[in-house]
């Protein structure tokens, strides 16, 4: 019903404005009774109210305005002439309309708590009387104005209402309504030119820059007064900015309002049965973004109907409900607006996408073979891709998803999808709240500063040079058990001094996320975070995907804004399959397991979060401390536990190298778990069973079709570290 509430609110604002005009027109009409212009204007107003009230099922209002419209049309066409009686009855009609609108505002219906409160039938009868040439019965019995809430408007007081209200309110400036203090829809809003708002945003942008400049300058001064004034300026500017931005915010429901109709028509046309659910339509975002979101969103909805939801017969045959469900959900998440479009249709089969992509020459067969499910799905966003067997006028022309992605990326957003064949598909669109002023992290490189939108920022890490590893020339680091590819900003920018820093140097790593891609950006310097005003850059630089625009810093110099997605693309990171998989683990809260081989052919697994590092030692360096096997490791002694022995299995064949999983306890103690070898890193939602539970083993689960025992890390620690005292003795 929220949609209705919104429509009613709009209707009220509009109608009240119209009624004010109507009052003036009617009074004016008495002075120049024959004015066709005035009559036409009045007629139009009443006609509009009649139309909308019919649409909103406000039947009393409709009945009243219907008769009024009849009278007005005859006056307009010159079939009747104005008399004081006519004016009187018309003004009473306007008053009654106003009274009904008040009831609508309070109760969302035009019946209200007490239908007899407002004498609609009486006014209708009077209007009929005038229409049929009789004198209206009640016209001569004026009583105080019917308005329950007094009008503060300075226009002429409405003509008295002939029928007494239950509690006639005196016409004064003090509201006596119980809803006192709560402004009515009419008084609470003002219509403002959009250009004016855009202008304001521009000016606030300038103000924010000037503020930044002043703050920077005052930092260098010891003047306390100046400092305080600057601080106030800072606060006021921030608040002003926030509020001005709010004026441009509009609920996404405005874009959605048209979708029920689109869905209905399309469903009809395609022979689908679809129930549309919409959630979060009051989620607000900048109006310029809203505009840009309209087409992509409509396209995604069309797509869901055309490719997603199956015809009813197919659905029944597949054991689904006859009626498909299409769900739109919008919400705010970490400074972004997320819109999800979910259908419970056929889903997308990645292999089919791959086949089609190869058939259409979007990718080569070899390239497709290297892609996994998620990347195959991603192919639908490539230009020239379309899987619709028949070209319909709905979708299937091969222009579409790539345009959707381009349009969304143009406004700084991202779109991705998740699909389960047979279950359904979800498209997730993320867009920033606003484009004009954004929080950003300012970093330094090669003497220049660069701004990175905060929305892409995950965390800042400082690593030692020895934490940096190189895999076939690609620098990576381990961050809480995950590999993070590293990109050097200096290298991206092509600085001549992009040589790797000294081995001993610490590195500053800005961990960034765009779409599904996460990577670390090594920067020379990290300045601070600040609000920046995004300014466009010239045509000469538009083609450079690595820049999202530019901004002006506190000292008046220009700084470039880095486009994180563009950076990732330029380094080919968005192709990294492994990362996409890892990311999904975060989104869907799956468990990532390190699967290892133990005792020759048995499989065991432990949560990746319990793994600090993976090491390999030659068997020769193993030593003993007491009864415990140890190895010298990083200036310390690492106690080792043989996993096979721990879980009660025979040891595997002796090897020249031992593979060790290093586990770190919360208090920083390290334990090495000796395994045969690492098999895989797998994310899974599979549930644990108690099968095979015994000391050292929590139970088992199925990973990749194999029964895998889950290692009890605590038991490992308990086995290795009660010897803490013993170890201390050795040390």
């Amino acid at each position: 019903m929220d949609d209705d509430a919104e429509i009613i609110a709009e209707f009220l604002v509009e109608s009240h404005e119209n009624l004010d005009q109507l009052d003036r027109d009617l009074v004016e009409l008495e002075r120049q009774p024959g004015s066709r212009d005035l009559l036409s204007s009045i007629f139009r107003t009443i006609h509009t109210i009649k139309g909308t009230s019919g649409f909103l099922a406000l039947h009393r209002l409709e009945a009243l305005t219907h008769v009024g419209e009849n009278l007005l049309s005859r006056l307009r066409d010159g079939e009747m002439t104005m008399t004081p009686d006519t004016t009187g009855v018309l003004l009473r009609m306007v008053d009654t309309v106003r009274a009904l609108l008040d009831v609508v505002e309070r109760t969302a219906t035009d019946v209200g708590d007490d239908p007899d409160d407002i004498d609609v039938d009486g006014v209708v009868a009077d209007l009929r009387d005038v229409l049929e040439g009789r004198a209206p019965a009640a016209a001569a019995a004026p009583t105080p104005a019917p308005d329950r809430v007094p009008e503060p408007a300075p226009e002429p007081a409405p003509e008295p209402h002939p029928v007494a209200q239950a509690e006639p309110a005196p016409y004064d400036e003090t509201p006596t309504d119980p809803a006192e203090g709560q402004r009515r829809a009419v008084d609470a809003t003002v219509r403002v030119d959009v250009d004016l708002l855009d202008n304001l945003v521009q000016l606030v942008g300038e103000l924010v820059l000037t503020r930044n400049q002043i703050l920077q300058k005052t930092d260098a001064h010891a003047d306390v007064e100046l400092g305080r004034a600057a601080q106030r300026l800072d606060l006021v500017a921030s608040e002003l900015q926030e509020n001005v931005m709010k004026t441009r915010m509009q609920p996404i429901g405005q874009v959605w309002a048209k979708l029920p109709r689109v869905v209905r028509d399309l469903a009809h046309q395609l022979g689908r049965e679809v129930e549309l659910e919409m959630e979060g339509h009051d989620t607000e975002l900048d109006r310029s973004l809203l505009e840009a979101l309209k087409d992509p969103l409509t396209h995604l909805v069309r797509n869901a109907l055309d490719h997603g939801i199956e015809p009813p017969e197919t659905r029944l045959a597949r054991g689904k409900e006859r009626v498909g469900r299409l769900r739109l959900k919008a919400y705010h998440e970490s400074g972004q607006v997320v819109v999800e479009i979910t259908d419970d249709g056929a889903g997308i089969d990645p292999r089919r996408i791959g086949d089609v992509a190869v058939a259409r020459g979007v990718v080569t067969r070899e390239a497709a073979a290297r892609l996994d499910g998620r990347d195959l799905l991603d192919l639908i966003f490539r230009p020239g891709f379309s899987t619709a067997a028949a070209v319909t006028n709905v979708s299937g022309r091969g222009v579409g998803m790539d345009v959707v992605r381009t349009n969304i990326e143009r406004i700084g957003g991202t779109v991705d999808l998740a699909s389960e064949p047979g279950i359904g598909t979800t498209f997730r669109v993320r867009i920033p709240l606003t484009l004009a002023i954004i929080p950003a992290l300012v970093v330094g490189e090669g003497g220049e500063r660069y701004a990175i939108p905060q929305a892409n920022l995950v965390e800042l890490v400082r690593i030692e040079a020895r934490d940096l590893e190189v895999l076939a020339g690609a620098p990576v680091m381990r961050l809480r058990g995950r590999l993070l590819p590293l990109v050097s900003l200096a290298e991206v920018l092509g600085s001549p001094d992009a040589e790797p820093a000294e081995e001993t140097d610490a590195r500053l790593v800005v961990v960034l996320q765009a779409d599904d891609v996460r990577f670390g950006l090594c920067v020379g310097d990290i300045h601070d975070t600040q609000e920046i005003v995004v300014k466009p850059i010239g045509r000469q630089l538009k083609a450079m995907a690595m820049y999202a625009g530019a901004t002006i810093m506190g000292d008046g110099r220009v700084a470039l804004i880095l486009d994180v997605m563009g950076l990732a693309r330029s380094r080919g990171i968005d192709q990294t399959v492994q990362l996409a998989v890892e990311q999904r683990a975060v989104v869907e809260e799956r468990v990532t397991l390190l699967v290892v081989q133990v005792a020759g052919d048995r499989r065991a697994a432990l949560p990746l979060t319990d793994v600090a590092r993976l090491e390999e030692f030659p068997s020769a360096v193993l030593e003993h401390a007491g009864t415990t096997e140890v190895v010298q490791y990083r200036d310390g002694i690492l106690p080792l536990v043989r996993l096979a022995a721990l879980v009660g299995l025979p040891s595997g064949p002796p090897a020249e190298q031992v593979a060790v999983v290093v586990h770190e306890t919360p208090d920083g103690q390290r334990v090495g778990i000796v395994i045969d070898r690492v098999l895989d890193i797998v994310e899974t939602t599979a549930t644990r069973t108690d099968v095979g539970r015994r000391p050292g083993v929590l139970g088992s689960t199925v990973v990749d079709g194999h029964v895998t025992e889950l290692v009890d890390t605590d038991a490992v620690v308990a086995r290795a570290l009660p010897g803490r005292a013993e170890l201390a003795g050795v040390r």
Partner: protein
């Protein structure tokens, strides 16, 4: 080879030109395309940008791309120590700065013939010219602002014919 000479022989030129000097050449842009001229402005370098783009300038809150005309025209760089000036031109709805050695006068030309640029001039220079006008004291090279700020056609270092 694109035609760099818009008018036919005998086209007469009328109007004002904002003149400037690059590497000893006197060039002029029709005054209606020029927003203002500025002394040297601090610039922010844009890594990986087309070679002719020297950087970005803050022009009263507006971000303006500075195109180094010497680089654009394949002329030798300014000697170290001298700073270029800015001729701010309007081109296809954007404001762009042309970096030049020195700013000259605004001259009024009436009824002089616009001749095609001599074919012996380097193609890189000719392609930004609408033509040349012989003045008593020197020859004015009339620059087409739109072409001058178009860095996409700038020298392709990977080789190939112009």
């Amino acid at each position: 080879m694109t035609a760099t000479y818009a008018g036919g022989p005998g086209t007469l030129v009328d109007g004002g030109f904002c003149t400037f000097v690059i590497d000893g050449l006197v060039l002029g842009v029709p005054v209606e395309h020029v927003q203002e001229v500025l002394r040297y402005q601090q610039m922010t370098v844009v890594p990986r940008a087309p070679e002719a783009v020297r950087g970005l300038i803050n022009l009263r809150g507006q971000i303006v791309t500075a195109v180094d005309l010497r680089r654009r025209l394949d002329l030798p760089p300014l000697p170290a120590g001298s700073l270029p000036m800015n001729v701010i031109v309007r081109s296809r709805g954007e404001v762009v700065s042309l970096l030049v050695d020195d700013i000259g006068d605004v001259i009024e030309v009436t009824g002089l013939e616009l001749e095609p640029a001599p074919a012996t001039m380097p193609a890189r220079v000719r392609e930004v010219l609408t033509g040349v006008v012989s003045l008593p004291e020197h020859i004015l090279l009339v620059v087409d602002a739109d072409r001058a700020v178009d860095t996409s056609t700038a020298h392709d270092t990977t080789g190939g014919l112009p």
